[in-house]
């Protein structure tokens, strides 16, 4: 059985203008030690998905339905006290901005000891020793000095190392990392990502990596989900999706990258922009931007604007697209025609 199993997750925000459905029908699993990427543009719902896993959705948002099973235990509807035993302890989070996560008036050591004491009966001296050990693991120069320093005394890259050390503090099963390197420079980003990857592998920690950067996902994760307007539209092994994306949106996203085009040539842009969740078009949410609404022979594919596409299996991937479904059905039909 998978360590984490998310079924039909449905998250809504009750706003004055009416209810907005931020996530619909999110399904995925994560095995022990597996690394999963959640990819999408801003507003696709990837951060909401990560936050709702630990029921960190603030009002007016709420989880309207579905199931989140972690290690056999249902998390939806679980009391706050029981959730706290899992949060930070067995599932920890890394956020985008390290300065927001760290408490500015406590030293690094105090914050780490506080975190350990909240979850374990442990003497301060022992907690400090564990904290020091974790700081050594994230390769911070002179870790003893850092324990007594305040967050503002550290550089951005070092702060993010401290955050990773805190995330690893209680030997969690899963780390959820929400854009962990977006605020950092390229060379620092590469260092932090390599470090995170090595530590997850070494300690067999599962990773849910939320990012908009396809390059990072391709290097770090084994499986990925592509999100658009609150839904997963393509899911499967990272390599396969990167090498051969099936959904027109994933294709568009890949083709829009400058490294996919010959220098100086026109980039393949996706026209328009992602609709706000309160004004989703009917049918497939991507259809107003999609080039495949009309078939190759020029005829319309009416389902695109009328019906939300179901997932179809294409190789090891799942794709929610009428065009892909139609092509697969045609392929299957020609297979049958053959004797």
């Amino acid at each position: 059985m998978a360590l984490l199993e998310v079924r039909d997750l449905d998250v809504r925000f009750a706003l004055r203008q009416g209810e907005v459905r931020a996530l619909r029908n999110i399904n995925f699993t994560l095995d022990r030690g597996e690394r999963l990427g959640l990819v999408g543009e801003s507003g696709a719902g990837k951060s909401v998905a990560a936050f709702s896993l630990l029921n960190l959705i603030a009002k007016p948002g709420y989880i309207a339905g579905g199931s989140i099973r972690f290690d056999g235990q249902e998390l939806i509807g679980l009391g706050e006290r029981r959730l706290r035993r899992i949060r930070g302890n067995r599932v920890s989070m890394i956020f985008q901005d390290p300065m927001m996560t760290l408490n500015p008036v406590l030293t690094i050591g105090e914050q780490m000891v506080e975190c350990l004491k909240a979850h374990r009966r442990i003497a301060s001296r022992e907690a400090r020793a564990i904290a020091l050990h974790k700081l050594q693991q994230v390769q911070i120069p002179s870790p003893e000095t850092r324990l007594d320093q305040y967050p503002h005394e550290l550089s951005g890259g070092m702060r993010q190392r401290v955050i990773i050390a805190i995330a690893l503090l209680l030997d969690p099963d899963i780390i959820i990392a929400d854009e962990p390197t977006t605020a950092l420079d390229v060379t620092i980003q590469a260092e932090i990502m390599t470090l995170l990857l090595e530590l997850c592998e070494k300690h067999n920690v599962g990773l849910i990596l939320i990012t908009h950067d396809l390059g990072v996902v391709s290097q770090v994760t084994q499986r990925m989900l592509v999100m658009y307007a609150g839904r997963v539209i393509e899911a499967g092994p990272t390599r396969e999706i990167i090498n051969d994306p099936q959904h027109p949106y994933t294709q568009g996203l890949m083709n829009a990258l400058p490294q996919m085009a010959t220098p100086g040539s026109h980039l393949n842009q996706i026209r328009g922009s992602m609709p706000p969740l309160s004004q989703l078009p009917s049918g497939c949410a991507f259809h107003p931007r999609c080039d495949f609404v009309t078939r190759a022979d020029g005829s319309e594919r009416p389902a695109c604007s009328r019906q939300v596409p179901d997932f179809v299996a294409s190789g090891n991937c799942r794709v929610a697209c009428h065009m892909v479904a139609e092509m697969l059905a045609q392929e299957a039909a020609t297979e049958e025609d053959r004797p």
Binding site: E41, S42, P141, S155, G157, M158, D185, V186, T187, I188, Q189, A190, E191, M193, T194, L197, H212, D213, L214, G215, V216, S218, Q219, V220, R239, I242, G252, L253, M254, A256, L257, P258, Q259, M260, A261, P263, G264, H266, L267, N268, Q269, I270, R271, S273, M274
Partner: protein
């Protein structure tokens, strides 16, 4: 090497006297930056600078050394990209070129005229020829002005003699040219998405038909699919209007696609300038090599960045010698002592590195 000599090494095949001939005007640099320095005072006013030290009153001053001697030249029609990490001074270069900041030392020449010491009035005709696009379209558009007003403002300033019809026609023309419906002129900035706002900011820059555009991270605040739209727009505008770009970015994939030449900056100095293809094929400076190896590529399964030791020093206390020596795996005694100069290489690039100069790298 002096700045004068530098500009020559870029076109080594051309003898000097030919540069004056009108047929070669295309090859003369449109913009030339010589020995540019910019420092920001951190220490406040005179009274705040006074400190007690050993029973005496001493004056204590501290500076951020944002740019420390930058020489660059931009030829007509090219797109020079300046890359580097945050705090390397790339935005300060852009702002100083535009006259938004005044340099602490050095000269800026535009089309043969020195412009950094001109009075605001004397600078006005140059401002029409140079325009700027900023990073954040949420901050760069005045929220209390309609799009029509935003786009009219630069036209009215630079063409006070134009009548209303002509101004309106020009506004409609630039709006259409960036893919914004000219009927939307009465709307405000907040009614548009980020990508559309950046198009409007580009329209504002194009409204006075400039020949030179400084773009400071124009696509960093946008989503991937929108980045492609805006980059395409900038490239189309360059072709149609024969624009010259100074393009500031930290995104190396964009540089590889967009730039004709690249200048890599580190801690306020240029460490390598090269034609884009040369730089990406054979990066020479150790910092450039580390920077390129850090780009997350789609092809490989595992990041293999060159690991730099230590952190970027602060521009308040600059290291002696080469600013990169503290993190450089090839640093020797000379690197700690002596500031390297940009030296022209056989492949057309310029590298500021003792190791490359001595042939040991």
């Amino acid at each position: 090497m002096t700045a004068q000599a530098l500009s020559h090494t870029e076109t080594p095949t051309e003898p000097r006297r030919q540069a004056a001939r009108p047929s070669d005007q295309e090859n003369a640099p449109l913009l030339e930056i010589r020995g540019l320095r910019k420092r920001f005072d951190l220490s406040g006013d005179f009274l705040e600078q006074l400190r007690f030290k050993g029973g005496r009153l001493v004056r204590h001053q501290e500076f951020v050394h944002a740019i420390n001697g930058v020489d660059l030249s931009i030829r007509r029609g090219e797109a020079l990209c300046v890359v580097g990490e945050s705090g390397c001074g790339k935005s300060t270069v852009a702002r100083t070129v535009m006259g938004l900041l005044s340099p602490s030392a050095g000269e800026i020449h535009y089309d043969g005229t020195r412009i950094d010491d001109l009075s605001p009035k004397a600078l006005l005709p140059y401002r029409k020829r140079m325009q700027m696009i900023f990073q954040n379209p949420y901050a760069s558009l005045n929220p209390r002005m309609t799009i029509q007003q935003t786009l009219e403002e630069p036209i009215r300033l630079h063409h006070p003699d134009w009548d209303r019809e002509r101004v309106t026609a020009k506004v409609r023309e630039v709006m259409a040219s960036v893919g914004i419906d000219p009927e939307w002129g009465a709307r405000f900035g907040h009614e548009f998405s980020g990508g559309q706002r950046q198009r409007i900011a580009i329209a504002r820059a194009l409204a006075v038909d400039p020949e030179f555009i400084v773009a400071d991270e124009p696509i960093s605040a946008l989503d991937v699919s929108i980045q492609a739209q805006v980059l395409n727009l900038l490239m189309d505008a360059q072709q149609e209007r024969h624009l010259t770009y100074l393009f500031i970015t930290h995104d190396l994939a964009v540089v590889e696609h967009f730039g004709t030449r690249v200048a890599v900056m580190y801690l306020g100095t240029v460490c390598e300038v090269a034609p884009t293809r040369t730089l990406f094929a054979t990066p020479r400076h150790p910092y450039t090599q580390a920077l390129l190896s850090a780009i997350p590529r789609l092809e490989d399964d595992r990041p293999q960045p060159i690991r730099l030791t230590g952190e970027v020093p602060t521009p308040v206390n600059l290291p002696s010698g080469c600013v990169f020596h503290g993190r450089c795996p090839h640093a020797e005694a000379r690197c700690r002592r002596e500031v390297p100069r940009l030296v022209a290489q056989a492949d057309g690039s310029q590298v500021a590195c003792h190791g490359v100069e001595e042939g040991r790298l």
